[in-house]
Amino acid sequence: MLLVLCIAFAFPFLWMLCASFKSDAAIFTPFPIWPEALDPRHYRALFSGEWIPYPRQFLNSLFISAAQTLLGTAFACGAGYVFAKFEFRGKRFLFVLALLAILVPRQVIILPLFEWMNTLRLLDTPFAVILPGTASGIGMLWFFAVFRRLPNPLLDMARCEGAGEYRLFFTALPLVKPALIAFALIQFVMSWQEHLIPLIMLSSTSRLTVNIGLSSLNAGNLNVPYGLLMAGCTLTLIPAAVFFALAFRHFRSALSGLTEA
């Protein structure tokens, strides 16, 4: 049963991988699924910049996702910690406000966001994509739950032993490492596949993210070989897959930690 499911899930990816080595004619022939030869011409075309500046766009994506992961995790983690461990005036109000951010769909705020970035003169720069993704209501909620499970006596101990409040936060971080990594992983994958915001904010071809670049190939009425698209998709998958493979163990332990509580 599990095997059947595995095959079912893996099939589209395998098909994509195989298609990236085929000519269009071979792609539209259902069998055989595997290519006749491992012909890297689509990959070569992709890197030559013949259609789109693929390497450049790939690096754009990497930079944007990395920055968004770092900043987003840092902000969500800090906010969650404060909401979980401190009492202050207006806490409930702010908390509800942060939660509301989850409920508002991106599409609703995209126009004001565009105006805003325009005013800040950040349009068509990576920052126009990075900044909106750094504030995450879900992330704050996630870290709120994580830090609430952190025993208070540990923090009190650290205070008595001489840690100031800022120091305390960094003392607490290693204790939630699995949750931290799990969130960073999700944040990376989310920002890697983000479509709407880069589509709106970026315009120069050399500044596009890789998925917008690829979809522009498909959308324009260019005669782009499908094999090339598949090659681009295959490569685009790699960072997320690598990141996931590295962080999967932590992700699992963070989730099991949540269910234990």
Binding site: P153, M157, E161, L175, K177
Partner: protein, 361 residues
């Protein structure tokens, strides 16, 4: 080194619960005051206020002539041992013990040196490289104790440090705390809900109830002359038997009269109680002994074995009382027994105030 002085401390929680009421205490250098009381009596709140983890609603905390009010815990120079182990799971025992020194920017070399020295003192030198998850509960609590000792703080605060340990570990760690107490000339506050711990460790024992000090006195005095009915019935296992009765003067003798207990007062008791109408007479369970002509009489309802002795609960009318003997008695529930007592050991309390009647002796 200097004394810890608490002046007029009150604590009201945001919900309106009053945890401490006008609390005053002075703990001398090298003195250990054990604070005991039922849960929710405010004893942990008191420690947290001294440590700076909670803020008092009013009142001041001084260490010698230095005021601690408004200071962050890190600047108060307190060493606190918590009920849970509070070791950081990703650090080794050694690193945990030296955590406070690290926070103060002491070099790694010196930290290691100190940790080894302290660990030796506590008999855990062989565990320094282990992670907290790899050692037993008693060892963890000794490591936590070590962490507090290492910095040689100006005050020690213990928040039920033994209550998460099993009986054997409890004894071991208790001995370590005793040793620490003997060699450290600083004030110590020790919170527990276990009276035997309080009576063993405390130079003075403070009984706390609903945020008010019931009595602060050396352990012997707490046992011998509880200042009020709360302390009398809270301390001791079981607590003191309290019987409500009248004081009557018949001819030349003054008598205590109640439905289940009648006896003539001794001359000094009579002198003190003259003019009182109703009082509570208190007799400790261990001061009662089987006596066919004894004044206490009742039906045995429960027999508890406490080798080598035993503990009986008797009922007379609607009055329950407890008896503790040093030797086992062969009694069964349902039997009626009489017990006598040494009248010099009876204490009297006011029915309204609950306070001990008579001059402190």
């Amino acid at each position: 080194m200097s004394a810890l002085i608490l002046k007029n401390i009150s604590k009201i929680f945001p919900g309106g619960t009053q945890a401490l009421r006008d609390f005053n205490l002075r703990v001398e250098e090298g003195e250990l005051v054990a604070i005991v009381g039922p849960s929710g009596c405010g004893k942990s709140t008191l420690l947290r206020i001294v440590a700076g983890l909670d803020e008092a609603s009013s009142g001041t905390v001084h260490l010698g002539d230095r005021t601690l009010d408004g200071l962050h815990p890190k600047s108060r120079d307190v060493g606190m041992v918590f009920q849970s182990y509070t070791l950081l799971p990703h650090l080794t025992v050694g690193e945990n013990m030296a955590f406070g020194l690290k926070m103060r920017g002491i070099s790694k070399k010196e930290r290691t040196l100190k940790a080894v020295e302290t660990a030796r003192l506590l008999g855990i030198a062989n565990l320094l490289e282990r992670l907290p998850s790899e050692i037993s509960g008693g060892e963890r609590q000794r490591a936590a104790l070590g962490r507090a000792i290492l910095r040689q703080p100006g005050i020690y605060l213990f928040d039920e440090p033994l209550s998460s340990l099993d009986a054997q570990m409890r004894l071991q760690v208790r001995v370590e705390i005793q040793k620490l107490h003997q060699r450290s000339p600083v004030p110590m506050l020790y919170v527990t809900h276990d009276q035997s711990e309080a009576l063993t460790l405390g130079d003075r024992v403070m009984v706390l109830h609903q945020g008010r000090i019931q009595q602060v006195a050396p352990p012997e005095e707490i046992i011998r002359r509880p200042a009020n009915t709360f302390t009398a019935s809270f301390i001791g296992s079981p607590g003191m038997n309290l019987v409500r009765g009248r004081i009557e003067t018949v001819e030349n003798s003054v008598r205590f009269v109640s439905p289940c207990l009648n006896f003539n007062l001794l001359p000094d008791q009579a002198a003190v109680l003259r003019g009182c109408h109703e009082v509570l007479a208190g007799v400790r369970p261990e001061h009662l002994s089987p006596d066919v002509n004894g004044a206490f009489r009742g039906e045995v309802t429960v027999v508890e074995r406490q080798p080598p002795g035993c503990c009986l609960y008797l009922k007379n009318g609607n009055i329950l009382f407890a008896v503790r003997t040093h030797e086992a008695l062969s009694v069964r529930t349902g039997e009626t027994m009489s017990f006598g007592f040494d009248r010099t050991k009876v204490l009297f309390y006011g029915t309204e105030s609950g306070e001990l009647i008579g001059s402190p002796a």
